[in-house]
Structure formats: C-alpha cells, structure tokens
Symmetry: D2
Subunit: 127 residues, 4 copies
C-alpha cells in the first residue's frame, strides 16, 4: 500500500463553499457554467494563485480559452468578480481577482429571502 | 443586530468536496451542468434527503424538471450515480441515490494521473 | 494499489467548523478538553448519531467515561449543549443533543468583538 | 441589518480537518491540549502565517507563552510538527512549520486500523 499517494490526496484538500451559493446562484442570475468558473477562481485563490489565466482555468473546464476569457469578462461586468491592484513584497505591481462582490451579492440575496419568508409568515398569521 | 439570521446562515452550513473533483471532472467526461447536478445531489444527501426529486433539484438550477430528469438518467447510465434499495426503521422499502460510483471513478482517475506523472518523471530521468 | 481503502478514507469525510470557534473558545471560557469534547459531539451529530453516550465519546478521547459524563453535564450547565426531546417516525420519544447554544454564544462573542474593534477605531480617529 | 459584518464572518471561513484526526489522535498518543495546538498551527498555516509564534498561538489558548513553547518543542520531538527552511522571493531565508509528519502518522494509523479490521473479519469467517 503506497502511503505517499495517500498524503498527496490529503494535501490536494477540499473545496469548501457556503451551501447558500449552491441553492441561490440561480436567483443571482448565474448559470451552471459561470458557477463552475467561479468555483475554479475560488479554488485558485485558495491555493495562492491570485490571478489565474484563462488558459489555466479552461484547462479544467469543458470550454476553450476564448470562451473562458469571454465568461470572465462577463462575470466582471455583471459584478461578481473584481480585479484589484496589489503590490508584492518587492514592490512590483500586480493584479489579482477578488470574489468579494460575489459573497456580497450572496449575503444580500440570503437576507432578502429571509425577509420575504418572515413577511409571508406574518401575513399567514394575520389572515 | 439580528442574531437569529446569523445562526440561520451558520446552520445552512457548507458544501465540502474534494478539490480533485473540480480539477478532474473534465477527464471523467462530465460537463458543467452535470457537475452542478452532482453537487446538488451531494447537497441533498448531506442534509438527509436521500432521494431528491427532479422538481427539488431543478428548482435550484437553470434547467426545467424534464431536462433534470433526463440528466439524472444519463448520469446513472454513465455510471456516476447509483440507485440503491433500502428499508426504513418501520420496514418500508425506499430508494436512495448513492454517489459512491462517482467517488470511485474520481479515485481511479487520480491514481491514473499519478501513475502517468511518475512514469513521465522516470522517462525524463532516464533520457 | 488498493482502491477500496481510498474510498473509505474519502467517506470518513471531514470535520468542518467555523474558524471563529478556534480563535474565540478561550473568550467563551471553554478549555481545550471541553473544546475537543464539543467537536466530538459535533462529529457524532453530523454522522446522524444524535445522542452519543459518554462511552462512545470517551473512547475517542484521553478521558474515562466518568470524566466524560462530568464534562458533558458541565457543558450543559454552562449553556453550550442542550438536550432536546424528539419523536421518531414510529412515535418513540428520544433525547438528542443540540449545539445551537454554542453557536449562539459564538455569534454573540463575534459581534461583541467586532463592536469593540469599531469603537477602538473611532476612538483612535477622534484622538 | 449590517451586511459588512456578515461578509466578515464569511471571510473568517472554516477550519476543515479529516474526521480521522478527531477519531484517531488518542491512538497517536496526542492529548487534547496538543490536538488543539496542532489545530491552531493548521489554522495559521491555512491563512498564510507559516511560522506563528508561541505568543500568537497561546493568545488563542488557555495556556501561557512558556507552556506553548514547551508543547511545540514536544510535538516536534514526538515527530508531529517539522520545521523547514525556506527562501522568500527576495532571497531571505526563513523558517516555517509543516504538519506533513502529522498527516503521515495519521494515514499510517488509518491503514493499520483498516488492516486489523480486515484480519479480524477473516478470523471471524474462518472460525
């Protein structure tokens, strides 16, 4: 039994996302291809790759580089991904993706759904 | 500050999947729509709903009930989802989904990739 | 290469807790033994065992059954664990643990810390 | 409802560990204080702090800096934590912790337990 390969699996680790993303992306007007692309960006960010290229992302998806580039631009326009400027320790300027806009929209949607449920409950009690 | 809604968010919890699923589904001949459907099934299983209906699943996706039904059948035919028989505490027979075939294929792919990498490494050293 | 054992590891799964529990338990007056006991209860709840016995819990800890029983009682008295009544599908009454009180205290502490940080920031800006 | 604080909670994120660590640490001769210390190191590593000080770690535990220093040394001696040398992008040498030895011991224990279970099963069938 090869232990090394086991360690490798363990170190590949897990992707961990709020369940609400899976249950609410449709309401956020995100489709399945876009969702998986967002998960890929999340995956790269978690592993310390702040600005994965369309080549890197599309290599793990059923889309080609051009479509990946187009989808990324669209997700930025629709306000789910943001490009931020940063400075490395050595003072070199670089760009990086942030998914903060996605999380903000998700929280907003969660709070909205919750408010609607409460209102529906009150209406029901009153009638 | 409403603490109740915070607790609700915490209890919605997280979806946790092996990173390798995100990086290898393409090699397993799964596309993005199928991947998200598998994640939805995983989500329902984790929450104790063993046999979610196409209606329940499609409600959280950009597909309708018919397409969902079709995709589920396809994933069963392609050997990623299995339907198992079970008996409840009260002796009632029921059906439930299992993702064990998916995990098995994923492990197989992971081991295969690993073997290829090792062989490439040896070839490189020998040349 | 034994694939079965790989599947078994994957199915053992992961324990997933809010990072804030690890960074705030001390402020909640929880010590390390109590923290690990709470994690064990969390582990059993996640796996569908609603009311693990002191024997089951202590088997995975460096404490004996008596100490485990004592620590559990203490965590209930201190308001971190709650025992709830439930009814099974077949109408049999049963008891189960809930960690909702723990999550509530954790959220409370998180909001309190946040408020303090904000106040400290305002004070700094004003001076 | 303050959305900012919600985002902060989401960004604090989760700690994710193999369930087997929680169910096997006792067999690895780790006690609860040591386990939580290992979780703290894991937490800091995940957040990009490669070499947390005893002051940083003990601030989140019920132990003082001296005891923390002592426990860290002990976990290194017992072969659960390793100190590795690294070089930063700017060529500065630095030290960092690695939990690879812990994961290796955990896998070893998991494989051993599995082998014992299989042997017990065979013995049972033969008798």
């Amino acid at each position: 039994m090869n232990q090394t390969i086991f360690l490798k699996w363990l170190q590949e680790g897990n992707i961990n996302i709020p369940s609400t993303l899976l249950t609410n992306y449709k309401q956020l007007k995100i489709n399945e291809k876009e969702l998986v692309l967002l998960l890929q960006v999340h995956y790269y960010l978690e592993r310390g790759n702040d600005f994965p290229t369309p080549a890197e992302i599309s290599a793990q998806m059923t889309i080609d580089i051009n479509e990946c580039h187009e989808l990324l631009s669209q997700l930025i326009r629709k306000g789910f991904i943001e490009i931020l400027d940063g400075n490395s320790d050595t003072g070199i300027r670089y760009e990086r993706y942030s998914l903060e806009p996605l999380w903000n929209k998700l929280i907003e949607q969660f709070l909205l759904n919750n408010k609607k449920e409460e209102e529906a409950l009150i209406e029901k009690e009153e009638s």
